[in-house]
Amino acid sequence: MYGMPIIEASGLTRRFDSFTAVEGINITVNEGEVLGFLGPNGAGKTTTIRMLAGIISPTAGTANVAGIRPDLEPERLHEVIGLLTERTGLYERLSARRNLEYFAGFYENINVAAQVEKYLKLMGLWDRRDDYAGGFSKGMKQRLALARALIHEPKIVFLDEPTSGLDPEAAHEVRDLIKKLSTEGRTIFISTHNLPEAESLCSRIAVIRTKLLALDTPDNLRLRFFHPQLIIHMAKVTDAVEAAARALPFVLSLKREESALTLELKNMEINSPEVVKAVVDAGARIASVTEERPTLEDIYLNLVRDKPENVK
């Protein structure tokens, strides 16, 4: 479904003096994919993006983006990638239009006027094009910065926390834009703290805390880190009902409450009818049966919390 590998990091490491910000990251992103990059504050997300985007060099390991080594040929790489930096970094005393014109002016083979107009309109800033960027709201600044990152139609886009600090509506708009970019076949590397956002946008998710902790599709992450749970609500949980459930070989764990049983099963589809039959046979009067899927947040917290080997 996706193309060839277009971003490859192998053993990517960055030390600042004696402090290791990023260690041994191995990631491959395929053409057209949207990769979510998750991790707590200080996990090394921005540092990794900077290394992949040719802003800083790794202290060990290598990266290859669009067939180019970012640390060796940054200028050539920059023709084909766009970077939305963590801080918008606009020229506040220049108009929105001039901000874009300036940045567009650094690329080869670009129709500056046409691209500036296209992106000002796309970002809903056309009517404010001659206003100073300094007077813009946070959401407008973020959209202008996004326009700046896209002005040369890069095939790979790095977005460092594109929706942070935006109100829900502005964040929603930015997410829609990112979806649109993805449908245009661009490869998108997006760091975020917003887990539902990552789940709705990304085909795969990487969780990092200095080291890469996990890299998979959201569904596979669920399977790997959590077993789905079955919750059976009934009038009253009796000892007989509990014993009947416990006797089943595929029940991995069981939690008993006043009027509900929560069970972790090996295989939801195959096992759940048998569980239901067993508890009914033991005399339970079932009110409802629900399946609970862990949220991405559960997985994330499980990954980044209390792992001594990851504590810096």
């Binding site: 060099s57 940054p74 020229y91 005393r93 940045f103 650094f106 700046r148």
Partner: protein, 270 residues
């Protein structure tokens, strides 16, 4: 050297500068002060100190150098000889003007963009490091040269008002033209390159200023060479000086690129 990316930087730098009238005024005021100071000193010397200066050995030596270069000076009365001698020193003194301007503006150029975060976005474009540094330096050097020329005109105007006007033709030798048209631009570019180097390495504009002050000493050296009569700058030494300066400029740009650390963008500002 003047490719589209460098031109792009020039236009933007000038546009931003025009928006900042306060700093623009500050930058213009300083060279005018330098000129005013020089004129005052010249006037004071002729009023109060001609005799004692004439008595100095080194001044006699410098004067004979001067008369060798411009024989017409020999025919003038002693007081006017001193006046021509003083005016001739202005040739190198004027070179301090672009440096002064650079101290006050070049040093902000990169640091400011680091602090605002725009430098990282800039480094994510196909802009080469040399283009960024050269563009930034040139953006300051060009107006600095124009300002230097304007100051030179103002200086001669003041000299006329002081009543020394008749001597100007004796002072403005070919070496003067070379100084104004060649050395001043080279000096301006060098000052701004040093400023940009300082700015790209420093954490704030203040520490960047220190690096550039250094350039003032060689200029004083030139003035001293001439005042002490050790060497009088006629056409050939001046052209040689120009070639040397051009080489130093190339070296400065080269080391600016070497010294520039992309990494410095990500330094945490406390």
């Amino acid at each position: 050297m003047l490719n589209k990316r460098v031109k792009n930087i020039l236009l933007k730098e000038w546009q931003v500068a025009l928006h900042d009238l306060n700093s623009l005024l500050m930058v213009t005021l300083l060279p005018l002060l330098i000129i005013a100071q020089a004129v005052t000193v010249f006037w004071a010397i002729q009023e109060f100190a001609v005799d004692s200066i004439l008595g100095l050995d080194i001044v006699q030596k410098a004067l004979s150098n001067l008369i060798q270069t411009v024989p017409a000076v020999g025919a003038l009365p002693a007081v006017q000889q001193i006046q021509v001698f003083l005016l001739s020193q202005m040739m190198f003194y004027i070179l301090l003007i672009p440096t002064m301007i650079a101290v006050n503006s070049a040093t902000f150029s990169i640091v400011e963009e680091k602090l605002s975060g725009s430098l990282e976005a800039l480094l994510a474009t196909p802009l080469h490091t040399w283009e960024l540094l050269f563009g930034k330096a040139l953006a300051g050097a060009v107006p600095a040269v124009i300002l230097t020329w304007i100051c030179t005109l103002i200086f001669f105007l003041a000299v006329r008002i002081m009543g020394w006007g008749a001597l100007i033709s004796l002072v403005v030798t070919p070496a003067w033209y070379i100084t104004i048209l060649l050395l001043a631009p080279l000096m301006a570019l060098l000052s701004f390159l040093l400023g940009v180097i300082g700015s790209s390495r420093a954490k704030d504009a203040k520490s960047a200023q220190n690096s550039i002050i250094l350039i003032i000493f060689p200029v004083f050296g030139l003035i001293a060479l001439q005042v002490t009569g050790a060497l009088w700058f006629t056409v050939v030494p001046t052209i040689l000086l120009g070639i040397l300066l051009a080489g130093v400029n190339a070296l400065a740009l080269w080391s600016a690129v070497k010294l520039f650390r992309r990494e410095s963008v990500v330094i945490r500002w406390k």
